[in-house]
Amino acid sequence: MCCSHSFENEHQPGTVPEVFDISAVKGMKFFDPHVHMTSRTTDDYQAMADAGVVALIEPAFWLGQPRTGLDSFRDYYSSLVGWERFRSSQFGIKHYCTIGLNSREANNEALAEQVMELLPLFIYKEGVVGIGEIGFDDQTAAEDKYYRLQLDLAREAALPVQVHTPHRDKKRGTQRSMDIAIEHGLAPYSVIIDHNNEETVKEVLDRGFWAAFTIYPFTKMGNQRMVEIVKQYGSERIMINSAADWGISDPLAVPKTAALMQQQGISAQDIELVTYRNAITAFAQSGQIDETEFTSTIDQSSKFAGNSILRGGQQPRIDKSSIIIS
């Protein structure tokens, strides 16, 4: 992050960082509304399930290098609603996604045109809870064009929009994203502005949009800063996510931040809103989230009462503490 001052959670010399104690969040449940699980391992899924993550949203994004053809987009979207969703279910985590053309690849106009034709085949699929993540990266004319076209698509399909705000020239890019969403007839209440910071949050909330915060080491929000934001702005229309991906990131960012909030006196109700309920309220506007489909407990033996067969290919756990692998 280059454009905003940072008061990242830095430890004083000589002090030891506190260890995350999973028992601090025992019994709590979490919804991570932005996490790129295709880039993560089964160990991450297991750790998230253990820490109480019961559901998540995987936004369609950039894979770290550009795709060169339409089939790559189709296979990627297809994996988000297919294999990845199934993989998640093996750990008892309900997997949703948002589908969209990310801002970086909007700059390849010839390909972007074809992707726009492909999108209707995916946005009406079950469990697609929005158009996302779309918005600005470099803030080019092409990014502007495909952002607008996808906002129109979202309006027609009555889907929420998950807006990625740029790393560079963030404040201006965030304002512009909101201006354009309103210009295209979207209700601010159906638009989730992501990757906020101390500099953007006030305007986002004042204008009636949802403000999402990404807890991501080094480049986005630290969770100590997040606690301060909740103290200042409360919990209305605020949600947090990990945006864990192929970079150095933390898929336990949501439960860890909940633990920190609890430690520092944020009320249980506010923690629940920021780490679970608000994301559901926002994305359930798609009509595609059914909370009864979440498995509220991570105990696999009781998950499917009265049925000894693990459903949907769900894997039995292995004992990682044992040196024996059988």
């Binding site: 189709r74 297809s78 297919g82 079950e126 009509g287 949907g312 290919g313």
Partner: protein, 241 residues
């Protein structure tokens, strides 16, 4: 192009859907069969659960009997309404232009999510031009998604009717590897063969060497081609039951 009476089948599936959905949903569905308007056909296929819901359908005894006459060995019991709706939609598609028809259906496979794939593979025994789906069926058997495998393996007459011996043997081996209920596979004994028996006994040796057991059904299948002496020796050598 169809190996069965498509009109009788259409009527029967239509009546089951009518019994299980509100009148407006049924009326909507009956208007969606124009596969020459590919975008609309795709959209109808994809948004099926939004229209029909996902409740498990109820099927009357006479409908079960009738289905077994029209398309033997196919069962729709335990299906959800969206699954049946999607399969029904596919049976409405225009089949006059073979290339076009195959392309439309193939395209649904390419973009399919799990529940869509379950419906698509369930529809294999009902699709026109049955020989066109052999590779697709073999591809489905490579899936690691349990529900998709079950849609191909359970109460589905297509694999036994159309797959080559090699592909059939892969289906049975995959079913054993993924711990499926072998007794639900249509044609399990009819398609049994000496090569499969050899593979099954090799598999039993591998399992035995690893200190793991095998499903009992394996011995029944192998026993149709291998002598009791061979099997008993193998069981003894590897301490298998």
């Amino acid at each position: 192009m169809y190996t069965y009476d498509i009109h009788a089948l259409n009527q029967l599936l239509g009546s089951i859907i009518q019994d299980n959905t509100p009148p407006d949903v049924f009326a909507w569905l009956m208007k969606q069969g124009n596969s020459n308007d590919t975008a609309a056909f795709n959209a109808a296929f994809v948004m099926m659960p939004r229209k029909t819901g996902k409740a498990v359908i109820s099927v009357k005894p006479e409908q079960i009997t009738q289905l077994n006459v029209t398309r033997p060995n196919l069962s729709v019991e335990g299906w959800t309404a969206d699954r049946l709706g999607r399969v029904f939609l596919l049976t409405l598609a225009d089949t006059t232009d073979k290339n076009r028809y195959v392309k439309v259906v193939e395209n649904l496979f390419l973009a399919g999510e799990m529940n869509e794939l379950v419906a698509l593979y369930s529809a294999l025994p009902l699709l026109a031009y049955p020989d066109c789906w052999v590779m697709r069926c073999a591809e489905g058997i490579r899936s690691n998604i349990a529900n998709v495998l079950e849609a191909i393996m359970y109460h589905n007459p297509y694999p036994a009717e159309q797959l080559s011996t090699d592909a059939w043997n892969q289906l049975v081996m995959k079913a054993i590897f993924t711990e499926k209920h072998l007794e639900l596979i249509v044609g399990l004994h009819e398609r049994n063969n000496a090569e499969l028996a050899r593979m099954l006994l090799d598999h039993a040796r591998e399992r035995g060497a690893a200190g793991r057991d095998v499903t009992r059904e394996l011995w029944n299948l192998a026993g149709q081609f291998e002598g009791a002496g061979v099997i008993n020796n193998l069981k003894q050598e590897y301490q298998l039951n």
